[in-house]
Symmetry: C2
Subunit: 237 residues, 2 copies
């Protein structure tokens, strides 16, 4: 049934394109949420919050297509891995959208006050830029099935982790004079950006599995450890 | 092929039992991590951190079984949903184990200092107890395919959310005299317990999909909203 297989592969292609679209939506959400945070822009914050429903809708559609394909095409090998991986990547990208929404909600909650203390603005600007670029790159890695992308995104994630620690270092500096509320908000925001970046790494690692059939944790124990252990703040140093 | 179908259903049964086991492992991890946190018990903290590899191994085994069954049995309808749902529940439970490990890592990082300020201990004791009970209940819900379990766990999650807000209220009280490090650590810890509880709710919601074939967000928009929006701290009230 070559015609049917052809149709199936068109469907897989569409699913892949939809994943790339989802990565762009989540990058845009983070970009706008960051802008809303920095400019104390209530309208933009509301926009990010309501737009998250679109991300959820695309994710839902993607998952339905993937499950439908599993049921109808009974795929094996690479095709099966693509569908299983799709369900995981859609979950990562939808969660990234949630994290962008968390940032926007905090901007809305504190409006018209700015959320971030002056001392942390530069660190968060960089964190937001790197995180946004990472999820866009994750989309490209999905489209090109680039098995080397995971390594690249892990390197960028090291930058995120460094910035995450910088946030704590600045908060702990005796010169820092911000109120407790600023400490709490900055801690949570830093965690949101850091998790956002983790999900981009996760997507790239799933591409390795898709292409090679090797689970990431079998691929490289150190990689796996980095990926799953998260970051307890090394705020002491 | 009734014999083969019978074997397949035995395999599905085994997969379900393994998910229940995973929920118990993650409950135990949280229990011990909490104890390590409260008693500044370095040995126990190390134990939780190294035991997390077992959780990861069970999760890996589960996922391999589920994907193997997808490839070999070409399931449809409920059987397909069970396998898809298994991949998601295993992810939730493995992530719960990671969050318990984060708690243990923070206990290890601050050793021999206690992590938590005295004022917060009771709140965290309650949060840990509720969260641990929730993941154990999630395991029972998997075993019994209880579609009403999601509602029950959402109610308990309301308690967690209240405690999460209590943490911020206590930190923001002018009487609170803890150092910035305590504020940062307590904020992150509270977030870890809160996310742990979210994953238990998530598992129960997936059981609804497994049994009914209805996505949780189609089931109840409010439920879905509660589930996915996370908790931006309403620390101001």
């Amino acid at each position: 049934m070559p015609a049917l297989r052809g149709l199936f592969h068109e469907e897989l292609e569409l699913i892949s394109e939809q994943l790339v679209e989802l990565s762009k939506m989540s990058a845009r959400a983070l970009n706008r949420a960051t802008q809303a945070l920095f400019d104390a822009d209530l309208v933009l914050a509301e926009q990010v919050i309501s737009d998250d429903e679109e991300i959820d809708a695309v994710r839902r559609d993607l998952d339905n297509r993937a499950i439908d394909s599993l049921a109808r095409q009974q795929p094996v090998a690479t095709d099966l891995r693509q569908l299983v991986t799709t369900l995981r990547m859609s979950s990562d990208l939808e969660r990234s959208g949630d994290l962008a929404r968390h940032v926007a909600k905090l901007a809305r909650l504190r409006y018209p006050e700015p959320v971030l203390p002056e001392e942390l603005r530069l660190t968060f600007v960089e964190m937001a830029e790197v995180a946004e670029a990472m999820v866009l790159r994750a989309g490209e890695i999905i489209a090109s099935l680039d098995v080397n992308g995971a390594k690249e995104l892990q390197d960028r994630d090291d930058t995120i982790d460094r910035l995450h620690r910088d946030v704590f270092r600045i908060l702990l500096d005796p010169k820092f004079a911000g109120a407790t509320q600023l400490v709490i908000d900055s801690t949570l925001l830093s965690r949101y950006y850091e998790r956002f970046a983790d999900h981009a790494v996760s997507v790239a690692i799933r591409v390795v599995y898709l292409v090679t059939g090797v689970w990431h944790d079998e691929l490289d124990e150190a990689t796996y450890e980095r990926h799953t252990s998260g970051q307890v703040p090394r705020a002491e140093g």
